[in-house]
Symmetry: C2
Subunit: 219 residues, 2 copies
């Protein structure tokens, strides 16, 4: 019987997919104080089938997710209004491993093209799935965020739970204030720095300030 697999689907296609989404499960890392993920599985046996289902409880910022301007009251933009054109297209994974603070100097050195999508690979990718989160994870400084606004960046992706240091808000305020969507908590540990095509799609949460998302890179 035919079963779709990558091999028999597109034998001549050279695209390779990298799933940079964090798997959603009860053991995943969540923000300190967040009640976490609950997955309640169900099982219904009928005359001809055994049907499995599940009910999920999770935060809108759980795992890989998109922040919209409304998250920081930095505008009225909601997650369901982020244009697909921002979420889909060429993206560059920058190698920022070894840095805790990512400011203008580090980003200038990376030579970011104007109006591009950037994903910052840091050491955060090492713990973003299961934790523990260090006290000072790698983060964008306010100055770094303002540089990305100057470059008219289309989308910023980070491998930590937040683009800011915990308790700080400058990077969120600068980026969301400029209408730039933030893709947070992607796992970049398996992707080499370089150029890709990004597809990230948040759930269509009506009026949401953020939503869980799936994110893939194509090479």
């Amino acid at each position: 019987m035919f079963r779709p697999t990558p091999a028999n689907l597109c034998p001549t296609m050279r695209v390779r997919y990298f799933d940079i989404s964090v798997p959603i499960c009860e053991e995943m890392l969540v923000w300190p104080g967040d009640p976490g993920v609950k997955i309640e599985r169900s099982r219904h046996v009928s005359h001809d089938a055994t049907i499995l289902g599940a009910r999920l409880a999770l935060g809108s910022h759980t795992g890989t997710h998109l922040d919209a301007p409304l998250h920081f009251s930095a505008g009225e933009g909601t997650v369901d209004a982020i244009p697909p054109e921002a979420l889909i297209g060429p993206a560059r994974v920058l190698d920022l491993r070894g840095n805790i603070e990512i400011g203008r100097a580090e980003l200038e050195a990376a030579k970011i093209a104007p109006r591009s999508r950037v994903l910052l690979r840091t050491d955060n990718s090492n713990w973003v799935r299961r934790g523990p989160m260090p006290e000072r994870p790698a983060h964008l400084t306010g100055e770094g965020a303002r540089y990305l606004v100057e470059r008219e960046t289309l989308l910023v992706g980070v491998d930590g739970l937040s683009v800011d240091l915990p308790g700080r808000h400058e990077a969120h305020l600068a980026l969301l204030g400029a209408g730039i969507p933030l893709l947070e908590a992607v796992d970049l540990s398996a992707v080499e720095p370089g150029d890709y095509h990004l597809i990230c799609l948040p759930l269509r949460l009506a009026g949401g300030e953020a939503a869980p998302a799936r994110a893939l890179l194509l090479k």
Copy 2:
């Protein structure tokens, strides 16, 4: 200040996106007996920002979603294991409006190419967002589903909450048994029948039998 919009993002790009996902909100249509969607919004005021958040409770089959073989114990395939190659690629929207039962004859008339992705546009699109669901919504018959298996279909999308008539399981068993992922509860009311490029991404729910998804068509 620069704000990414479709117009200034890709002025020369001719791609047009159609969001066929059902908006997620408390008023949306859910399966009879399902406890429905709960969205608990939060607001935190700090010295420099007002931060909005939300906690979500919903079923794994709520709104637009992907069914994996495990949903009907029709195999061990989970939603996080569906290959991106099945979820992304050319897809045809078939015009099946006016039909309640969709069987082999209706699908043969639509001349489906082998190994293609098909989305069945029926009158279900008229109520899939808010209901009410009629007693006999448009659905695939077991014979129709087996025809799609014969055609080695890569993915089947429907605009009802289920590919089967309520209480029936033949179409699920045939399609999921052949490893064909099901995209259920898409709203096709705004897309003309014809050829598109589909991008549908379910959340990466570890070991899930299904997961909520975002689905776009590109023309």
